[in-house]
């Protein structure tokens, strides 16, 4: 083959490309030189062939340009054979309305290939992309797709970053989530796939690999407390979205900051990496004292930090020698001579070598100078704990002795010099003068604090997506507030109206009331002689056997221990008139709940009452009517009297929230009664089944928390869905007019 830079050869290739875009002329020679070194002869031929196709495709010069520049690199990563698969994908995209996405696709392909280096993995990625394209390109009429996918181009741009933190499976889950939930919102879809929406980040966080700090906060808190006898808030900082710089762990007055996720590295698990970082920071807390930084140059500070880090670690290892394994595995081991002092500033490299040697003395010192400093360091520590000030003076003389002219060079050698479990040592420095570039220079915030908002901040609850069998994290915002009050006398009127019913209920209640006295038999000491047992013992005695001395009995009290939460569906449909009655369903519910509350009060069981309705997932309202510790008094009656119905029924989040407080009740049995008149639904959900499945999932979660959920449905046609949600635990009340009578009876039957 002729030399690639040979003009004749280039001419041939250019002719083979048969493409007249002027923009290509500028880079063609360079690209071909690159390609001819990376591709085989056959590969080069195919390469030009496909480039030619891209030129003729009619989508401008951009795809060809990018292809010419990127393909040789991709081919070296995944092999030339994948070209066919890539071209198939491009042709598919080209035939769809998404041809604008070809450029970003090709642009990011090299970065993607670097993370998916086998043809098989790359094929999965291509399939996933095409699936995304098919599912999100929409059409208005007929079968032909006519509108481009809003999220596809954004997806190609974020793909390399995503693959940094996600496995291929995780990426597929993330994409599927986006396709499913944002198929009909072009704007939101774009935000999702460009990683701008909170939801998208939350799902990413869930799918990512590695050890999440949030999952292990308690274990790490305990470690800090157990090993270091200190406690502090552990605050995660995001590592995924900060692409500019990688933050380091640090601590300040507000807590210890750690990355939100650690992957296992160098045989050290994510949890152990957190422990190493914590141990290092705790050692600083215990043994470091802040010194004034103003008189030190940046290089001097770097050296002081290096010695001080080594000192606190040496002290920590005295106490806990087992940490050595973690520190040694995580500390970089820079190679002597890796940095060339002629071209780079080698200060960081030299200090990293020193730091490594201070931690693990190498078997053989390449340079006697290094050994001398390691010995001086250990000599200082042999006498005791040494101090930050001693380390500072040691560091200064180290710097004086080893300084090189090239340390001033602008190119700093960074490879193998970052010790990622160490903090940034900001606690080590005090300043006489505040540095100019410090953001603290902002005048203190003098805006008056905002007025107290009368509502609580929202609580976020997940929602179950049955189609993908996953939880949508933090999907629903639930606001808990006090129900407005009305006139308590209204409820008394209702109760008076049902006084005959109340009398009948009272008889039932008396039967249910705690049967206080329970006989304890077989007592050695007791209040009475248990005659049966006494006689038996006497017979034993007469017959020469050992008599049972437990011939007494005594009494003890036995109480009920049932905590109940009653959840009222307050959706719009309650305003309808009940079948076969003069009143609305709401009024009947009001009477029923009043009677129930009165009855439960008689029994003395703790009861909470709350109403709920929702107006999309962003506004689920949980209206507090009665708390567990509130007695049945005028305040509660007033709230009941003012009951209003509006909006829709989003049941899952409400169930989860009700469980939140019910599960904290100190009772043997926990009962959650749901009084509803229809199936779960909300105006932002098109799929009827979705909220039903979510409620079913919520009931299952409550079961695991030991809460018995029971539904009282007023919807005569409820059988279709209510058993899906609640299994066998439901009652449908057909004759709503009898609800006031049925509800307390039902409660008693359940808790008998």
């Amino acid at each position: 083959m002729a030399h690639p830079s040979d003009p004749a050869q280039l001419q041939t290739w250019r002719a083979q490309l048969a493409c007249a875009f002027a923009a290509i002329d500028d880079v063609f020679a360079d690209c071909m030189i690159d390609a001819s070194t990376k591709l085989s002869a056959q590969g080069l031929d195919d390469f030009l062939e496909q480039a030619r196709f891209l030129g003729k495709m009619g989508r401008g010069a951009e795809p060809v340009l990018i292809f010419l520049q990127e393909w040789p690199t991709i081919a070296t990563l995944v092999g030339e054979d994948t070209l066919d698969a890539v071209m198939v994908a491009i042709k598919r995209i080209n035939k769809s309305p998404n041809s604008k996405a070809i450029a970003p696709f090709l642009q990011s392909l090299a970065a993607v290939a670097r993370r998916l280096p086998t043809p098989n993995q790359l094929q999965h990625y291509l399939d996933l992309s095409l699936q995304l394209m098919d599912r999100t390109s929409t059409s208005i009429h007929g079968i032909h797709k006519s509108y481009p996918s809003p999220g596809l181009a954004a997806f190609f741009e974020t793909a390399p970053r995503l693959l940094d933190v996600l496995s291929l499976q995780g990426l597929a889950n993330w994409v599927t989530y986006g396709m499913r939930n944002y198929a009909h919102h072009p704007e939101q879809q774009r935000e999702f796939f460009s990683l701008q929406s909170a939801d998208s980040r939350a799902v990413l966080q869930r799918e990512r690999h590695g050890t999440l700090l949030m999952d292990h906060t308690r274990a790490l808190d305990l470690t800090l407390r157990a090993l270091w006898q200190m406690s502090d808030v552990l605050v995660p900082y995001a590592t995924t979205f900060d692409v500019q710089r990688v933050p380091m762990p640090y601590f300040d007055a507000d807590g210890m900051r750690l990355p939100d996720v650690y992957d296992a590295r160098a045989g050290v698990s994510g949890l152990d990496r957190y422990r190493a970082a914590l141990a290092h920071m705790a050692a600083h807390r215990r043994w470091s004292t802040a010194i004034f930084a103003d008189n030190f140059s940046p290089a001097q500070r770097l050296a002081i930090e290096c010695f001080e880090d080594a000192r606190v670690e040496a002290l920590a290892l005295r106490q806990y020698p087992g940490l050595r394994r973690l520190f040694v595995a995580l500390h970089p081991d820079p190679k002597d001579g890796a940095c060339n002092p002629a071209t780079h500033s080698c200060l960081r490299h030299r200090l990293a070598m020193l730091s490594r040697a201070l931690l693990v003395p190498p078997p053989r010192f390449e340079r006697p100078q290094l050994r001398e400093w390691v010995q001086r360091f250990h000599a200082l520590l042999a006498k005791g704990q040494s101090s930050t000030a001693e380390m500072a003076s040691l560091a200064l003389s180290y710097l004086g002795k080893t300084r090189l002219q090239s340390d001033q060079l602008p190119d700093t050698w960074f490879d193998d010099t970052e010790v990622d479990y160490r903090d940034d040592n900001r606690h080590l420095w005090r300043f006489h003068e505040r540095p100019d570039d410090d953001e603290n220079l902002d005048p203190p915030d003098q805006t008056p604090p905002e007025q107290d908002v009368p509502t609580l901040p929202p609580r976020h609850y997940p929602e179950w997506d049955y189609t993908s069998q996953t939880m949508r994290p933090d999907w629903v915002s639930l606001y808990e507030r006090l129900h407005p009050s009305g006139n308590p006398a209204d409820v008394d009127v209702l109760l008076a109206k049902h006084s005959a019913l109340a009398k009948r209920l009272k008889r039932l209640l008396d039967l249910l009331k705690p049967q206080d006295k329970v006989r304890l038999r077989f007592q050695e000491d007791g209040s009475e002689l248990d005659l049966d047992v006494a006689i038996r013992s006497l017979i034993d005695l007469k017959s020469g056997n050992l008599p049972d001395p437990r011939i007494n009995m005594s009494h003890t009290t036995d109480g009920r221990s049932i905590a109940t939460t009653l959840l009222l569906d307050l959706s719009e449909s309650l305003n309808e008139q009940a079948r076969g009655a003069q009143q609305t369903v709401l009024q009947l519910s009001q009477e029923a709940v009043s009677l129930l509350a009165w009855a439960v009060q008689q029994l003395g069981d703790p009861l909470a009452i709350a109403g709920f309705h929702s107006n999309t997932r962003h506004d689920v309202r949980y209206l507090h009517l009665k708390g567990f510790n509130e007695p049945w008094n005028d305040t509660v009656k007033a709230r009941l009297a003012a009951m209003q119905a509006a909006y829709s029924t989003r049941m899952g989040a409400t169930l989860r929230h009700a469980a939140h407080s019910l599960v904290r009740q100190n009772a043997d049995k926990k009962l959650l009664l749901v009084l509803t008149d229809g199936q779960p639904a909300d105006i932002d959900v098109k799929d009827d089944q979705l909220l039903i499945e979510d409620a079913k999932q919520a009931v299952r979660e409550l079961d695991h928390q030991g809460i018995f959920t029971y539904c009282i449905s007023l919807d005569a046609s409820a059988d279709a869905y209510v058993s899906t949600i609640f299994g066998q635990r439901y009652t449908v009340i057909d004759n709503i007019a009898r609800l006031p009578e049925q509800l307390p009876r039902l409660f008693m039957a359940l808790t008998r």
Binding site: L222, T223, R225, Y320, P321, G322, L323, R324, D525
Partner: protein, 270 residues
């Protein structure tokens, strides 16, 4: 009577390492015939201390482990039915009062409050024990002394001593010994080398720091001694610690991995 006293006598000196001046104080209390209460977390050496003092004063020691089902007659005594009538049997408290022994009621809060009241007449100036069923009044032997132990860590609403009981005793408060002292205790008790004992004490300190954060009690000196015994028997130290120090005290996964890590940190590289 004297041969009965011999069965309760402690013949071999128990190892006890004095923490401060508690031995002298106890001797003073004994000479004044004052009832003694020993408080402290579980496994910190309360029972060993009482045993040691009984040996040192060469008095018999009658120990009763209290439990919830214990009745007053378990302490005082009861009639036994026999084929041709009944026979009285002295309980441990009555025996101790007759022979002049130190009666040690271990974990007294475990017994029901109505049971504990029977010790009242023995613990004030009267020093007598009425046996109401038998119609006898035992005048306590001059050597008799009552000692109770009691772990304030258990204190709950249900399990506490009545004020009227508490105010009949002089008290000793025990805690886990200081680190170097505890290490030497472990080394002496088990024969394990001092370096391992020091490490064990570090693990113990780590667990004690978690008290109230998921652990009801820290690792006791007794458990540390068990671990040391295993190490002495050539069990791998990390295994010994996991077995003797971690598994018994917690079922909480977070606590377990934390303590396991503490063991790795302390014994790693050893």
């Amino acid at each position: 009577m004297s041969d009965k006293a011999e069965t309760y006598r402690i013949t071999k000196e128990p190892f006890y390492q004095q923490q401060s001046n508690e031995v002298a104080l106890y001797e003073a209390a004994y000479n004044a015939k004052l009832p003694v209460m020993v408080k402290g977390p579980t496994g910190c050496g309360k029972s060993r201390f009482v045993e040691y003092m009984a040996y040192k004063l060469s008095k018999p020691l009658i120990t009763v482990a209290c439990n919830e089902d214990m009745t007053a007659s378990d302490l005082v005594g009861r009639y036994l039915l026999e084929a041709n009538g009944t026979r009285w049997l002295d309980g441990p408290l009555a025996t101790a009062a007759r022979i002049g022994a130190i009666c040690y009621l271990d974990e007294i809060v475990e017994a029901r409050q109505d049971t504990t009241v029977v010790i009242h007449p023995l613990t004030d100036h009267r020093r007598q024990l009425p046996l109401d069923k038998k119609g006898e009044l035992i005048q306590a032997h001059p050597d008799f002394q009552l000692v109770i132990s009691y772990n304030p860590g258990y204190q709950s609403l249900m399990k506490d001593l009545k004020q009227s009981t508490k105010q009949r005793f002089v008290g000793f408060e025990f805690d886990y010994p200081a680190a170097d002292l505890e290490a030497s205790i472990i080394a002496t008790e088990t024969g394990v080398n001092l370096a391992d004992a020091v490490r064990l004490v570090k693990v113990g300190a780590a667990a004690r720091a978690l008290k109230g954060h998921g652990l009801d009690e820290g690792i006791s000196t007794r458990l540390l001694v068990y671990a040391a015994t295993l190490i002495k028997a050539e069990v791998d130290p990390m295994d010994a610690c996991r077995m003797a120090l971690v598994r018994p005290i917690t079922d909480d996964a977070d606590i377990r991995i934390t303590l396991d890590h503490a063991i790795d940190a302390v014994f790693g590289d050893a």
